[in-house]
Symmetry: D2
Subunit: 511 residues, 4 copies
Amino acid sequence: MNTSAIQPTRIQKEESADQRWARFKPISNGDQYVESLRNRDLTVYLFGEVVENPVDHPIIRPSINALRMTYELAISEPELASAWSPLIDAQVNRFLHIAESPQDLVMKNRMQRRMGQLTGTCFQRCAGLDTISVLHSITYDIDQTHGTTYHQRYLEFLKQAQRNNIIIGAGMTDPKGDRGKRPTEQHDPDLFMHVTKRTQDGLYVTGAKAHMTGGLNSHWICVMPTMNMLAEDKDYAVIGMVPADAHGMTYVYGRQSCDTRALEEGDIDKGNATFGGQEVLVMFDNVFIPWDHVLMDGEYEFTQELVTRFTAYHRASYVCKTGLGDVMVGAAAAIAEYNGADKASHVRDKLVEMTHLNETIYSSGIASSHEAKPLASGIYMNDTMLANICKHNVTRFPYEISRLAQDLAGGLMVTLPSQADFESEATGALLKKYFKGRHDVTTEERTRILRLIENMTLGRNAVGYLTESMHGAGSPQAQRVQINRAMEIERKKSLAKNLAGIIATDRQNPS
Amino acid sequence: MNTSAIQPTRIQKEESADQRWARFKPISNGDQYVESLRNRDLTVYLFGEVVENPVDHPIIRPSINALRMTYELAISEPELASAWSPLIDAQVNRFLHIAESPQDLVMKNRMQRRMGQLTGTCFQRCAGLDTISVLHSITYDIDQTHGTTYHQRYLEFLKQAQRNNIIIGAGMTDPKGDRGKRPTEQHDPDLFMHVTKRTQDGLYVTGAKAHMTGGLNSHWICVMPTMNMLAEDKDYAVIGMVPADAHGMTYVYGRQSCDTRALEEGDIDKGNATFGGQEVLVMFDNVFIPWDHVLMDGEYEFTQELVTRFTAYHRASYVCKTGLGDVMVGAAAAIAEYNGADKASHVRDKLVEMTHLNETIYSSGIASSHEAKPLASGIYMNDTMLANICKHNVTRFPYEISRLAQDLAGGLMVTLPSQADFESEATGALLKKYFKGRHDVTTEERTRILRLIENMTLGRNAVGYLTESMHGAGSPQAQRVQINRAMEIERKKSLAKNLAGIIATDRQNPS
Amino acid sequence: MNTSAIQPTRIQKEESADQRWARFKPISNGDQYVESLRNRDLTVYLFGEVVENPVDHPIIRPSINALRMTYELAISEPELASAWSPLIDAQVNRFLHIAESPQDLVMKNRMQRRMGQLTGTCFQRCAGLDTISVLHSITYDIDQTHGTTYHQRYLEFLKQAQRNNIIIGAGMTDPKGDRGKRPTEQHDPDLFMHVTKRTQDGLYVTGAKAHMTGGLNSHWICVMPTMNMLAEDKDYAVIGMVPADAHGMTYVYGRQSCDTRALEEGDIDKGNATFGGQEVLVMFDNVFIPWDHVLMDGEYEFTQELVTRFTAYHRASYVCKTGLGDVMVGAAAAIAEYNGADKASHVRDKLVEMTHLNETIYSSGIASSHEAKPLASGIYMNDTMLANICKHNVTRFPYEISRLAQDLAGGLMVTLPSQADFESEATGALLKKYFKGRHDVTTEERTRILRLIENMTLGRNAVGYLTESMHGAGSPQAQRVQINRAMEIERKKSLAKNLAGIIATDRQNPS
Amino acid sequence: MNTSAIQPTRIQKEESADQRWARFKPISNGDQYVESLRNRDLTVYLFGEVVENPVDHPIIRPSINALRMTYELAISEPELASAWSPLIDAQVNRFLHIAESPQDLVMKNRMQRRMGQLTGTCFQRCAGLDTISVLHSITYDIDQTHGTTYHQRYLEFLKQAQRNNIIIGAGMTDPKGDRGKRPTEQHDPDLFMHVTKRTQDGLYVTGAKAHMTGGLNSHWICVMPTMNMLAEDKDYAVIGMVPADAHGMTYVYGRQSCDTRALEEGDIDKGNATFGGQEVLVMFDNVFIPWDHVLMDGEYEFTQELVTRFTAYHRASYVCKTGLGDVMVGAAAAIAEYNGADKASHVRDKLVEMTHLNETIYSSGIASSHEAKPLASGIYMNDTMLANICKHNVTRFPYEISRLAQDLAGGLMVTLPSQADFESEATGALLKKYFKGRHDVTTEERTRILRLIENMTLGRNAVGYLTESMHGAGSPQAQRVQINRAMEIERKKSLAKNLAGIIATDRQNPS
């Protein structure tokens, strides 16, 4: 199709890697991060309109606030959210730190849980960290096989990223079109991102990356293959780093449940007025990547491993949802107290059950980190089996935690009038009269907690707490496929046969 | 508090029962129903504003459409949705029919499932039917004890209701204030509805009824006690029939997740553009009820039984959710097909699981109807234990069905751009390009099904499918209390002791 | 293989149908039933030995006691366990009654639950009832197609069965050999039962029927195909009635967990000393069936329907497990009381949960009966979908009920010393001293209830309560296949598409 | 009561601590362990009889074999099952090693899983390890408070234990009598173990320890309080080390499901012929403990902490069940293969589900070890919350794994004839004929795997895999109480309130 109406053809010389970096300056706190997003020449669409200033758009801003908190946490809890990088011999944000030990991965998990507690939403910076993590070993391995220099390029990029303290978005998920067909078989080649041209300076890619978490809030986007590629897919086996404001990129903002409440006056009905997640579609129309920022170009045989390792990191990153789970437990306990029901044994029992499920998720996440092993490049990677176990529990337990929170909330959560009604002269006093519970709790407090539970189980942040828990980092069946592969069924059969007296392959029985 | 600012004092003579009925005329189809709601003098607030014309308000209309369907179904499937009433010797809408047999209750359940299939939401007419059902026997029983004439009044009302084919709303749930206190102990007497004055013509009530299903779409509202009342609560033990537009009533509309999408252009993002549910707060400020429409005044000792019988009917009414479940199964199957994944064994297996859970709910609902027994007044009532079982399953399985539907939907459900983006010149063609799946399915079809699943699992109709399934007709713990009462634990202990050889209380062992 | 060593070749004329019946006389109570099993010329093996007198064998007798109770119940609760048979114009045991209405099937379910309550085990008579039920319509339908006279033969057999009040065993499950192969492809033709010879008097079958419930306690065994047969399988498409003591039959008794406790002295450690289940392997070596007792011979095209209808009846029969569930609830409540823990809220809550699950099973069972429809032959058959739902719940909930019972029992259930230790001079007084709980409960009472729970969750009757609940009437996957077939997925898709605004196939939307 | 008939009064001088140790010699392999159990003067009862030679008793021996494996594993996999002890400057069995790091606790978990894989049962040595672990810190803490010398005594004991490589049994669970009464309120003071006399040489205790794991297979038993003691319970606050053959001790063997199959000929029907668990009741009648082996005498205020720390160690020890889970997965996969069903997608899916649940347990166990923290005495202790999470999952998932294994096994598991029938001349050939599945799998192999699954889900090792998983180290409610205590509900409430805009207690919101 002809997309020229949107993106004009470029004739000037393309920007070099250095030129691209020259546009950045180090970010040292949240405010600087927010500022860094201003005045970029991005093409963003939302509700069919161009968004001139995304930073101050009421629907978009909460997602920026969530990322902003990653900068603030590094200041307020530096041991948790920053780390010493030998690469630049300086303290860096942990979201840009290469895991040098299992403990580094555990600290990452703790930071993720804390971020979840503080924002109650998807704070969008994990996928970028998991991307730079997987590229550390993959570029190294390609170089070992092919004598390329991807790893050095990668390290140079990473140093700049650490120095400038930037956000990296993970551009992984291609639209895929007909699931029954390979990239080259699609009726439209753009349904998987691919190289359209190679020049002396670099290469050009066309395609799209779907439901990209925090895409618009990123400074750089790493495009990489979404699945295993074969020899005929060489042009699709491409990894590159692209500034979010590169020529040829178009963003379309994804809708979320209750998104337009952000446009309303008042902060109560929003539930969580400050923080939200973000998913965008990013389309690339012959976007240029200088060679210094190309980290794979045709080495298709490493794509399978790329995906497997990425999911090893990323599926464990879903411990972030235990931070949201902590908020859910707290919100459920608060509303029970406000309703005067917190002493009931069934209420207490439900809070315990919510906690049990939440900590079970946490266990499997940190266990996969504690059991991490080093790869050839020196970076540590989560235990694959346990990372899949973690994510698979995340596809189940938040739904049950959410169900229990709704149980404790009571039906009022979905029948409350609007904030405007509470504040109107005509009805305000009446509503306060009739929605009064315990004498020491204001109707507003009660309403705010109910709206928070609504936000996290039906509304804007339910997207992150539920549906994204289901599909992010791979849908449930993807984990089952991995567990199936890793479960060593023959070894377990032989354990059973040994005890059943069939054949003693594993160990001699005592006489 | 002084509410006089809102409702002016009335000095004219109060309307009699006959005068009230005289304002109605028989409704014979959906259009007439919609018309019947126009030009009523209701005081309705939404988003802090008075709603002048609720019928045509985009947020309210879908809830009217759902009720409208109860009229249409009686025409298109009369055997299902109407019945012969010996009271007026005519065919009446089944939602106004007194159960003369278990089969009548089963037919009611089938109609409810069908309504759920056709609307995908709460169609708001069940509570009214369950109200007239419970009043049939309760008025009869009071009369037997006290020599009152409530049952005759009731029958007269019901004849009018059947002839005029009206909607009755169930005004049951008082705000309750501090849950640890009885009605007379509350700091504000109005937190439970009560009689404020009795005259020769009738009585006056003040109070409020919270999260009243379809309140605004009703013609009459039955106010009745929400829980067991004691001797000191006599003034709170009141049942009466009130026209929805009686003097002294104020409505405040409850918010729902994604409610304002109804205000947007386009029908796609709404998910289910036609149908929705409705919950309102109704406040009563000295509302008059003529004696002919008073069905209890002080006979507090019948309130416990009133609640128990009402829940026996109403908890079985939640089979309606199996109709929504059918839609969920269908939507999940459709999106799997659109995604090209419908042949995968795990997809098929999830559809089977959804169906299994849905039919399990249906089983317990119709079982409680089939096992119905007649009461003294001649009406049949659902088996109490099984009705509670039905509702208790409804507090669990729709959540799991919803989780599985989200699993099959894929993450796109929560990252799709808006309809406006799909239709914009700038991005429309690009979005259609990139969100294209199978060649024989349009992007719009795919989007529409995803929006429907969003609507039912996160959006407006998730309120009805999930949260209302949790709390409507009593929260889970309420069912557990009833199951605990009805489970005949001593009898079961004796069965066990008999088999364990402890004591043979139940039956002789063979030698 | 040559099996002549076990069964001598017969040369005399074969017994006619009349001669076979002449050996029976009407049974009118439990004692007569037990007597009717004596002095039969059965070849029975158990622990490698011939059992000369099965009736008085301590392992076998409890299974006979369970069937005996079906006779006693018809006397003590005749409205429940007997029915009027128009066939012989007399009251008959309900286990031999042809369902003339949905109510008949519901009464059967109630009787099954009651039998479960009274025996705490599998009472083995359901499969026979479900067999005569399915044959009523299948023989009728074959006759309609082929002009055969199977239905008349069937009715004659049934009259005799009712008059003599006999037990019929269902010989359905062939060994099947390699599951990947059809009957005619097996390396041994006997792995599916088949006709080996046809004479003027009748036909001869060879093969085996595996895990036959109550086989040894039956008077007659009905052999029938276990699955769909094709044209090439004609000799395998055979149904016939065989007396349990016909020439050529050999029984091998199946082991059960803890079976040999029945051989120990004392009744405590048995848990349920009186009642048990029975599964046997029955092998047929050229067993003769006179034509009058042949009900299918080659009409393979009816085998699929035979199986489907049989499972419709039989899967609903698993409501019997709710009777065992009642015993489990009672036992759990009793031990909680004996332990002094019955007031704890979590104990009460677990009893409620057990009851909820148990009644959910019951709901789906009786719902499938209430929704029964008549077949061409006039008999009523359970609703197929709901019968499968019932059985599918039975493959899950008894395990959870059992788990909860073990929770309430405490660990003592699996560490208690033997009855002999409790009764020994050396240790008896010490054990009573140390296992004393509440002062008003004897150590023996406590022990007996614990042994009953052991019996039903690990021991002999766990076979019936758990594993048989899993596999009887078809393993879980078999129900899923049926649910998949019956779930009308296209219809449900169109409901969803209609609401999503895709195509209005099901009903017009209101404007 | 008078127990003098069993234990004669002693008049000679009591054995000193040194004398007691002098009876031991170092054990360096499994055979020496078995020998070490011979010729001890134990009073053991089983089935009402004295067991003269427990070591060779067919019911007891499998439990000894399981412990024997702990010695063998230290030889075959020394890095896993042994560790360097700085206390004696030598390599010791890991079951006697004091955790000096989180990694030590993780290695312990791995060893436990491996032991579970190799034995398929409870190998009985964990509670002893967890006992010496908790005493390390508790004795230290008492000394710090009271200036006592318990910790030095403890270290001396531990050195001897390590040098001699002995088994220590944990004597913790008192009979407790009426649960509603404190120790001093019981009608019989012996229902909790207590000091009866103190002399210059030591003290004497009387009481009993119920369901003591591997009691009879231990060399020493540590008696300690089972719950929090108060000031008035001082004589009950006693910890001491007792040789298993001390004067005054009487053992009564606990029954297990199918225990007597161990007495039958043939190894097939046993399911797991080699290994089993053991629970005994141990009664103490004025048993002497020299002061050197007394580790608490009256310091009641440390009993609460004793129990809490013990459960922190012991609840994580239940990862051993993941070893049994591995066997279950393997057995289920093997029988599916033997049945020819291993390619079915639902079979594969059930194996994945079993693995997922099993690894989830493992995650929470090792996570609690990885997150261990040092105590004042220098020993590391598992994270309390996660150890409780681990155990709580163990009270659920093995039941579901077991249910799925029974699903895959098929009904034959509970209807198979006995080994004797398979081997009898009369029926052997017929049974092999009819129970033949795939041509390349013998009937015996199929039978053996089925018997193993029976063993672990209904039989002898179901005691360890299921019921002990429920109650060992505390019943489910005990974990819920701990989770409730540890869940920091106020902190979580403040997280929720912060996001809801109620009060910002946890962190400033960005503007």
